[in-house]
Amino acid sequence: MITRFQIEDYGCIRKVDFALTPLHAFIGPNDSGKSTILRAMHQLVQTASGLMPVRGNTLAATFAGNVYSTGTKPGTTRTTERLEEAGGRSTPADPPPGEASQVRKHHVRLFQQEFRGASIVRFDPDRMRAPSPLLTEGQSTRLLNERGAGLAGVLLAILGRGNDDFTDLTRAVCTLFPMVKRIRVPVVSSDQVALEVQLTDGTIVPAAQMSEGLLYYIGFAALRFFAPVSLLLVEEPENGLHPSRIAEVMKVLRTISTEVGTQVVLATHSPLVVNELQPDEVSLVTRRSLEEGTRVTPIRDTPNFAKRHSVYSLGELWLSYADGIDESPLLEARPDVGKAAG
């Protein structure tokens, strides 16, 4: 699990350094840099996993006392050929001469053991509805892209495992959508599979006619049965969901972080998502000026947090003080100003 992350000169980010938890959410105004942080994390883990080449940015992740960096950072060592082969650079702090090569080899192994790829999820119902290719033997059980394309194929692959995974998935969906009796993934051509649900009265509803909320929930509920990755990055999990379903999706994401062992990092605008998290699991992302760039502040470090949190749940606290511009009422202690009527 990544415990700290540093980003320098990446998109709108000049320099940030923040702590992470197994399930973590970034909140903040539009255009503050939340999605950029997710992209940077995706890039670093994909690079470390050997799935993406090193680029010019400086990204660094701390895990289990080790630092993995794609660039040069103060206190870290420069690239070696072996590490470049592994897709990244090790940063054991100044290993003794002669031992450097062994230490770096050790770190390469650590990175490869630690990082098994990253996935971004920002579901698009139209992509999720489309029939998808059949997964071939040995192909990883993952979506074709972050928008949810290939969902039907992945569900068929889960069904094909012959264990309880598909039954568990169906049960979770039917519990929240009691009119749904089962999920179906019929093969509709020689190379394509479709997604349908059968209702309790026998009606078959193709994906094209499913509600967005049902599609989204099937997508989230299925995530835990995908081929595991080290890092799951989720953009606005609240989209398209009834408020009461948001808590259920957050349960799914927490299960992925605790039982599957995948670190889950979210960007959200929903106080209802934040309500499902603990103070250590939420960081505020703001950007006051182009020059200053993005800042990340743990919500626990905002002024008067303990008192405010004793009154408000976490999401309420955020919304009670947020202004959607730079969140200054949340970040700055209020000297002497009462909230005026209206």
Binding site: P271, L272, N275, N304, K307, R308, S310, V311, Y312, S313, G315, E316, L319, S320, R334, P335, D336, V337, G338, K339, A340, A341, G342
Partner: protein, 196 residues
């Protein structure tokens, strides 16, 4: 002494209900400030006002919505640098009295330096006006707004607030419990020197 006001609408808050650009200077008198004129010291500074519904509530938890609102008001008052939180909330034949009392109790524990003058107005602020006029069983009068208009001739905020200001508080019947509780809290908060 710095005061933060809270209430449901213009009857309680007067001009403090209005957005700052549309607020007079001084703001129009409301019932709460008129009551403070009888119970508080001459030198009061109102640092702000909050409309009841603007306190955020998204999740129930162990506290009721009313209790949570009182806590939210106390936090706002504390962060606004107020010494005293002053509010009234219509009971409206709901079970708000008990919940508001629980909220006051908890807020007093969490914000010990803040004095809280508040109560559910049973059944509403107009019921308090009837009590100030000396009417018995004011808390059981149905449709008190209409009665206040027809019997006391008070139809708008200014008339109601001026009525409170002109009347003393000496004729309030013993059965007007919610108003008496509010006044007792005001006198306790401001001390004997604050009462008129």
């Amino acid at each position: 002494m710095k005061i933060l006001l809270a209430g449901e609408g213009p009857t309680e808050l007067g001009g403090w209900f209005d957005e700052p650009p549309y607020r007079g200077d001084p703001p129009r008198l409301g019932v709460l400030v008129a009551l403070l004129a009888h119970t508080g010291p001459a030198a009061l500074t109102i640092v702000g006002a909050i409309i009841w519904k603007h306190i955020r509530k998204y999740r129930g938890g162990v506290r009721s919505a009313e209790s949570r609102t009182v806590l939210g008001l106390a936090l706002e008052a504390s962060e606004a640098g107020a010494d005293v939180l002053v509010f009234a909330r219509d009971n409206d034949r709901d079970h708000r009295q008990e919940e508001i009392e629980r909220g006051i109790l908890e807020a007093s524990e969490r914000f010990p330096s803040l004095r809280i003058i508040g109560s559910a107005a049973v059944e509403d602020t107009e019921g308090w006006l009837l009590a100030i006029a000396g009417r018995l069983h004011s808390e059981a009068v149905p449709n008190s707004k209409a009665v206040v208009a027809s019997e006391l001739g008070l139809e708008n905020t200014t008339q109601k607030a001026e009525f409170v200001k002109q009347m003393g508080l000496g004729g309030i019947p013993a059965d007007a419990r919610s108003l008496r509780r509010w006044i007792d809290r005001a006198r306790a908060a401001f001390g004997p020197g604050g009462s008129t």
